[in-house]
């Protein structure tokens, strides 16, 4: 399936893009992350939440053909 991935905050600096499309076979959100960690090893060091179709989901959720967002915590104020 085709997945549109959006990167927020400092994650976009690691991937050097704010969004991209990836092709992946069935699996869980963790499987997608494994794929992204191989592509961008620096991502492994960062804490972030994952949203699927505009909802924050746990990392062992089933992956759906959807829009995924990777959301790091912000602390600035």
């Amino acid at each position: 399936m085709n997945l549109k991935i959006r990167y927020f905050g400092l994650l976009a600096e690691i991937t050097n893009c704010s969004e991209e499309t990836v092709s992946l076979s069935k699996g869980s959100v963790s499987d997608l992350l494994e794929f992204l960690f191989e592509k961008y090893p620096e991502l492994k060091e960062k804490d972030f939440q994952v949203a699927q179709d505009l909802e924050i989901v746990s990392k062992d959720s089933l992956l759906l053909e959807s829009e995924i967002a990777l959301l790091p915590p912000f602390s600035g104020g």
Binding site: L10, S18, Q49, L54, A69, P72, P73, S75, G77
Partner: protein, 359 residues
């Protein structure tokens, strides 16, 4: 009163709504990039009592975005400088400046005096402190946070909604997220996000629908894109905070950013060897677990029974589900007992392991 006529004339607000605003008590934590615009609009709106807590001093580099201040404010404490400026904007309200840091020692008492807390802080320790104190005092928090050109807004602990820890359970590793002074920030961004926070405060006071509870509003000032993500409440994260109530004031500020507690499985524990197991459940809790290098010290008594701990051993703490045992590890770490771990799976996993061993 002609001051608020533009509110009163709106059907959705009226005199009744303006009265609610004048009876409200709002605490602004942080009078910086987010606090300045939020305070300006809340003061202008006529919030009856506004508390401002900030220990920081105004510097020239703040003036690019902290718009309550001016060149004449440089060197003055931000809470005091903000209060002085706001006095002229609206002398009819009551504003209280606390020129000090929010800490576990003062947070609970301070939060009790207010209806709504606004998070305008700039570091994770403060944000987790605000989360925990707001859960313990049952106050909603209007959250705002920024990074370079991006901002987030949400409302936590409102009408049974999620908390900050439901979104990000624990702070990120130290040093993994830089702050504004290191990476910079577009000045107008906190202006937008802080004003949105003031908007949420007013919506809550006026009882409007569509408060950003259970939702994280994300804004990108460079692209003008917005996206709103749904946040699910985590009951275990909220219960975990509530279970720490007794110990809350004894913590230090930095402990809100300490690295996560070390967890260990039963197999790893036995591989490690040289163990002392400590059951931190209440007496009589089942399933009963008894074996030679295991003692029972209920969590509430742990700090008073530290002499029972063999500091030469690897201390494996367990309970039912692994929540109390993590708290127990934190207590021991505070008393300089390292080599302590929280057992994943709790008492059940010990029994299961013992059954396997007997086969």
């Amino acid at each position: 009163m002609s001051r608020y006529s533009r509110h009163i004339v709106l059907d959705e607000i009226g005199q009744a709504g303006q009265d609610k605003i004048s009876q409200a008590k709002v605490l602004m934590v942080g009078a910086g990039g987010l606090g300045c615009p939020a305070l300006q609009y809340l003061t202008a709106a006529g919030i009856g009592t506004i508390g401002i807590i900030d220990f920081d001093i105004v510097e020239e580099s703040n003036l690019q975005r902290q718009i309550l201040f001016g060149t004449s404010s440089i060197g003055i404490n931000k809470a005091i400088a903000a209060k002085n400026r706001l006095k002229d904007l609206n002398p009819t309200i009551n504003s209280i400046a606390y020129p000090e840091k929010l800490t576990p020692k003062n947070a609970l008492e301070l939060f009790e005096d207010y209806d709504i807390i606004v998070d305008g802080t700039d570091n994770f320790s403060a944000r987790y402190l605000i989360n925990d104190a707001s859960i313990l005092t049952n106050k909603p928090v209007v959250y705002g946070a920024i990074y370079k050109f991006e901002g987030q807004v949400s409302v936590f602990n409102y009408q049974n909604g999620p908390s900050y820890r439901c979104l990000f359970a624990t702070p990120p590793k130290e040093g993994s997220v830089p702050n504004c002074s290191e990476i910079g920030v577009l000045g107008v961004l906190p202006g937008i996000i802080g004003t949105m926070q003031a908007n949420e405060v007013l919506k809550m006071i006026l009882g409007f629908d569509n408060v950003l509870t259970g939702k994280l509003f994300c804004f990108n000032a460079m692209t003008s894109e917005t996206i709103t993500l749904k946040i699910t409440k985590s009951i275990s994260e909220i219960e975990k905070v509530m279970s720490l109530k007794e110990l809350f004031s004894n913590q230090n500020f930095a402990s809100f950013c300490e690295s996560p507690v070390a967890e260990i499985s039963i197999e790893e524990a036995f591989k490690l060897g040289n163990n002392q197991f400590i059951d931190v459940r209440e007496l009589g809790e089942e399933p009963l677990v008894k074996f030679s290098n295991c003692i029972q010290i209920p969590l509430g008594k742990l700090e008073h029974e530290l002499d029972q701990i063999d500091s030469e051993k690897n201390i494996i703490l367990f309970c039912q589900t692994g929540i109390r045992s993590k708290t127990a590890v934190e207590i021991l770490q505070k008393h300089n007992q390292h080599n302590c771990y929280s057992l994943i799976g709790g008492a059940e996993t010990i029994l299961a392991h013992q059954k396997l061993e007997l086969k």
